[in-house]
């Protein structure tokens, strides 16, 4: 059975050390904010200028000036703080954030990530992703294992323009957790009933 997005989020939460700081990218990773147990005491950073995001706000507590980097309304918890973009990226670029979880279009065995444009077709821009992959202590990519056309997104060499070079620590997909290392993807964990045979269909160098 493939992991659901919620199960993927929980697998990633299991990787976080208590009392750490985490930046969550736009899209799938945002779900993590709502599922982190309070007991882990994690400070969620959003690069638009807040440390201490606690997930969705109550209906009567919504504020147009209280949003995350995905421009969604948020709530904050005790101990949170607001700051300008320079200080916010100082936290990222200065190496003060423990984990970032970003979406991806491609990750390759050389720890490269592509997630900001498809030449001639689509440009989302890099936003803070290039800073995050170079600045945070541990870079986790949360993405679907396959693209819409069925091709694997874990590849031998990224074909799309890179976001970062030699930066990815772990990839979490609906099939499992993978670590790009020594020019291969090492299997850290597989989703229930997923076999290595199924992974080999991706034509990537997996290593148990």
């Amino acid at each position: 059975m493939f992991w659901s997005t919620e199960e993927m989020a929980d697998e990633i939460i299991n990787l976080f050390k208590p009392n750490s700081s985490v930046n969550l990218g736009i899209g799938m990773p945002t779900l993590i904010a709502e599922r982190i147990p309070e007991s882990l005491n994690i400070m969620i950073h959003s690069e638009n200028g807040v440390l201490g995001v606690s997930g969705r706000p109550e209906k009567d507590k919504v504020s147009p000036t209280l949003i995350n980097a995905g421009k969604e309304t948020i709530a904050i918890k005790a101990g949170s703080s607001f700051f300008d973009s320079s200080l916010s990226f100082g936290m990222i670029r200065g190496g003060h954030i423990d984990y970032c979880v970003l979406g991806g279009m491609e990750v390759d065995v050389s720890r490269n990530l592509a997630n900001w444009m498809v030449p001639g077709k689509k440009v989302t821009g890099m936003g803070g992703a290039m800073d995050l992959v170079n600045g945070t202590k541990k870079v986790i990519i949360m993405m679907n294992h396959f693209a819409k056309d069925g091709s694997p997104k874990l590849v031998n060499k990224c074909s799309l323009p890179l976001t970062g070079c030699n930066v990815v620590d772990l990839v979490v997909t609906e099939l499992g957790i993978f670590q790009p290392i020594n020019e291969k993807f090492k299997i850290i964990k597989l989703a229930n009933d997923i076999t290595i045979k199924e992974l080999k269909m991706n034509m990537v160098n997996f290593e148990k």
């Binding site: 736009i26 959003s46 690069e47 638009n48 200028g49 807040v50 997930g55 969705r56 706000p57 109550e58 209906k59 919504v62 504020s63 147009p64 000036t65 209280l66 949003i67 980097a69 995905g70 421009k71 969604e72 309304t73 607001f82 700051f83 300008d84 973009s85 320079s86 916010s88 990226f89 990222i92 670029r93 490269n112 001639g120 077709k121 689509k122 440009v123 989302t124 821009g125 890099m126 936003g127 803070g128 992703a129 290039m130 800073d131 170079n134 600045g135 323009p161 890179l162 976001t163 970062g164 070079c165 030699n166």
Partner: protein, 231 residues
Amino acid sequence: MKQSPKVFKDAQTALADLKSGITLMSGGFGLCGIAENCIDAISAMNISDLTVISNNIGNSGRGLVKILVQDKIKKAYCSYVGGNPDLEERLLNKKIDVELVPQGTFSERIRAAGMGIRAFYTPTGFGTLIAEGKDIKIFDRPCILETALYADYAIIKAERGDSFGNLWFKETARNFSPLMAMAAKITIVEVEELVEVGEIDPNDVHLPGIFVQRIFQGKNYKNDIEFLVTK
């Protein structure tokens, strides 16, 4: 309100000397903290060939998109295009010149300009398209040289401001605005609430008024929410 050379009546008077061809910084993250009155005033002015420095160049058809779709922007510096189909279309069809800048490098280049720093080295963007043509130097890791970003004018919004230009921002509406105020020759601020000097506690001043040249009481704020999510 006591007489202050910085206090203007409205956006029209504060922006009256803007001309075609200027470089303009515009604060805000998405639609959060944007200078709504200034943007509306510029969209009604007969100026063009603007170079605009702003994280999103508007979003969801609003904010700076009003000026973008009037084809008043010649060149844009920004970090994110997602959620702005009007910008993406112009970028892909090469109708305007867009320089995409990683968001941390973007804010640091603006901060550097305000701080008198001409350039700096950073690992962000190494090994990517962003590094093309830039000087590379190896410190602990390979880094690329990025230069300061200056502007003729900045338009920003704050929650409260006094007649000297001291500003207080609310929640995440601060984002790029204080940095832009420092980087521009002339910073024009609109506020939800204009107060007398002394009414903002010096301990609470987020941006000292020395960086502000013009300020006015804004009106008719929409304060749009892009994605309303609740429990």
